[in-house]
């Protein structure tokens, strides 16, 4: 009981204090809000505090430091048709398997060059011999393009390789594509040699999970 009283008193004191502050704030003559806005600084342009949720705050990050914080809540309403992805869920990636089949592309092009065809043939041959295996094709770009342009171009490269595999009799259902645009360069250098390495398609074998 006493404790409740104390809390009530503290709350009342806080209210009185805040009310006093509010009144003091209003005392000066002709106090007006920031032009064209409501009561907040910045008005409609101001976003609410950024954070993962009520009761949790993300500490601000000063220039020169990077402290990514605050994981987010669970996803609501998984609103997608993931049917095309579901069959890849249990597959085990083997990145090393097709490492020497990495395909390179010309600048700003998604055309599979004749001198890269042998690599595609090798991949097709393996997939046809192992009907239980699946394939992930990653598409990548050099940095000489704008970011979202490159994300689409990388996807186009991956899809072009899938198309070539289709011509060789590999069903498209067994293959999924993932474009990283310019976000995952094989070589971080800024030379033609580095760029040529980065314009690529990578085949990642997806093997069935061992029972």
């Amino acid at each position: 009981m006493k404790k409740i009283h104390n809390q009530t008193l503290t709350f009342l004191a806080a209210v009185i204090l805040l009310a006093a502050v509010a009144c003091t704030g209003q005392r000066s003559v002709r106090l007006t809000n920031i032009p064209g806005t409501g009561a907040t600084v910045g008005g409609p342009d101001t976003t609410p505090p950024v954070g993962p949720g009520p009761g949790t705050t993300i500490p601000p990050v000063g220039p020169g430091t990077t402290i990514p914080t605050g994981p987010q809540g669970p996803f609501e309403n998984a609103n997608t048709n993931t049917a095309g992805l579901d069959r890849f869920a249990d597959a085990v990636p083997n990145r090393a398997f097709f490492q020497s089949q990495m395909v390179t592309f010309d600048f700003d092009s998604a055309t599979v060059k004749a001198n890269q065809q042998k690599k595609v043939d090798d991949v097709a041959k393996h997939l046809k011999s192992k009907p239980g295996d699946l394939l992930l094709i990653e598409g990548h770009c050099d940095e000489r393009g704008t970011e979202e342009y490159n994300r689409s171009l990388g996807e186009r490269r991956a899809l072009a390789l899938r198309g070539e595999l289709g011509k060789l009799g590999v069903s498209g259902d067994r293959i999924r594509t993932l474009s990283f645009g310019e976000d995952k360069p094989a070589d971080a250098g800024q030379t033609e040699v580095a760029w040529a390495k980065n314009r690529r398609g990578e085949f990642i074998l997806l093997e069935p999970k061992k029972k």
Binding site: V15, L18, A19, V21, A22, R30, N33, I34, P35, G36, A39, T40, V41, D45, T46, T47, P48, P49, G51, G53, T56, P60, V61, G62, P63, G64, T65, T66, I67, P68, T69, G70, P71, G73, F75, E76, N77, T80, A83, L85, D86, F88, A89, R144, G145, T146, E147, E148, Y149, R151, S152, L153, E155, G172, R176, T177, F180, D183, K184, A188
Partner: protein, 388 residues
């Protein structure tokens, strides 16, 4: 109890107010936005002084000696930030004092008051931007004041993220994240409520899901390759009611953006082997080219909030920020940089610049072509989106 609660709310959400006497609005007669306004500031110190100068230079002002100034701002920040604006004949235009908030917020509010008084347009010094920052192996979405102050991480997934964009009302962000779910890594477009932290999956279809753009009515345009080609798709704000806007078999589209009236979606495609800007009715219809005469390889269109202009990136050796009338025509090259995003004033752009391996953000005043760099963050920063 009710009145007490109201009082508390009032105090807590009104950090900076101004007292002004007289509160007059004086717009420069025949103001020419293409001319820098010669301006003189005196009496301020430290952060407030720096903020005022930065804000006003972004807004198309040029700091000069007192004798050469068309307008002068005198004041102090010893207690609250106060500003007395006068013209070259020392005729007073306003005398405002700001209370509450931080000195920095008060300085931004004063900058906006000066801009409103002299140009008749609402300032942008109290707005925020979202962008992508590299954090080593991954990247995260950040939100900061428009000048880069107090950057705050919005995501913490430790994966590659991309293409943040604000939903109307600025209460949520949409972006792309390379999320692994059930062992499958795939691009995923998320809607992220900044107030609650709740996230909703807007698109996670087979293939590419990226580049969300939100119309003023909440609809989403985005790039999906679920039909075996990167195309523009339009959906409701939650990703439902999908319809395909472009059906180009051999060309990949990228970077959709909305006209402010929601009728059109502009995007990048190829015609006759050449990269072009194009648009289609958001409900579907033929693809129409938006001419960008004089420049090559346009991408990343951003339609100005007033509907008149499209800013974009041209790639001709390096990257250039350009503008073209929204209906197409002669493109104007403004500055080095890429991925422009308009402020609410349809005048200022935030953009990305590359230097060596690092990317940083800059602000461009379109009519005067004046560029101010946002101080560099620790990580490479790109794909800015301006809350408006």
């Amino acid at each position: 109890m009710w009145s007490a609660a109201l009082c508390v709310a009032f105090v807590s959400i009104s950090p900076a107010q101004e007292s002004t006497d007289p509160n007059r609005l004086t717009v420069i007669k025949e103001y020419d936005p293409t001319k820098l306004i010669p301006f003189y500031i005196s009496g301020y110190t430290g952060e407030v002084d720096r903020v005022l100068r930065f804000d006003l230079e972004v807004a198309g002002f040029k700091m000069v000696e007192a004798e050469r100034a068309a307008y002068k701002l005198a004041g102090s920040n010893t207690d609250a930030v106060r500003g007395m604006l006068s013209d070259r004949n020392n005729a007073g235009l306003f005398d405002k004092t700001f209370s509450g908030g931080t000195p920095r917020q008060q300085a931004h509010a004063l900058s906006d008051a000066v801009v409103l008084s002299l140009t008749g347009k609402k300032g942008i010094a109290q707005t925020r931007v979202a962008f992508k920052m590299d954090t080593g192996r991954a990247s995260e979405i950040f939100v900061a004041d428009y000048d880069g102050h107090s950057p705050t991480a919005v995501t913490a997934d430790g994966v590659i993220v991309a293409a943040p964009t604000w939903a109307p009302g600025n209460r949520s962000l949409y972006y792309t994240a390379y999320l692994t779910m059930s062992g499958v890594e795939n691009t995923t477009i998320l809607a992220h409520n900044l107030g609650t932290g709740g996230r909703e999956i807007v698109a996670r279809h087979s293939g590419l899901n990226t580049a969300p753009a939100i119309a003023n009515d909440g609809r989403v345009a985005m790039i999906l390759s679920k039909a075996n080609s990167p195309d523009v798709w339009v959906a409701s704000s939650n990703g439902k009611n999908l319809h395909r806007l472009t059906e180009t078999r051999d060309e990949d589209e990228s970077s959709p953006c909305w006209s402010p009236d929601g009728r059109w979606v502009a995007f990048v495609t190829k015609m006759g082997g050449r990269r072009v800007l194009a648009k289609a009715l958001s409900t579907g219809g033929p693809i129409m080219r938006i001419a960008t005469s004089g420049v090559l390889n346009p991408s990343e269109p951003s339609w100005s909030p007033d509907g008149t202009t499209i800013a974009f990136t041209a790639q001709m050796g390096g990257f250039s920020i350009c503008v073209v009338p929204a209906e197409g025509g002669e493109a104007k090259v403004l500055a080095d940089g890429e991925d422009p995003s308009w402020a609410a004033n349809s005048r200022t752009l935030i953009l990305t610049k590359r230097s060596g391996g690092k990317r940083t953000l800059s602000l461009l005043d379109v009519p005067t072509k004046q560029v101010k760099d946002v101080p560099a963050f620790s990580g490479s920063s790109s794909q800015p989106s301006w809350a408006r």
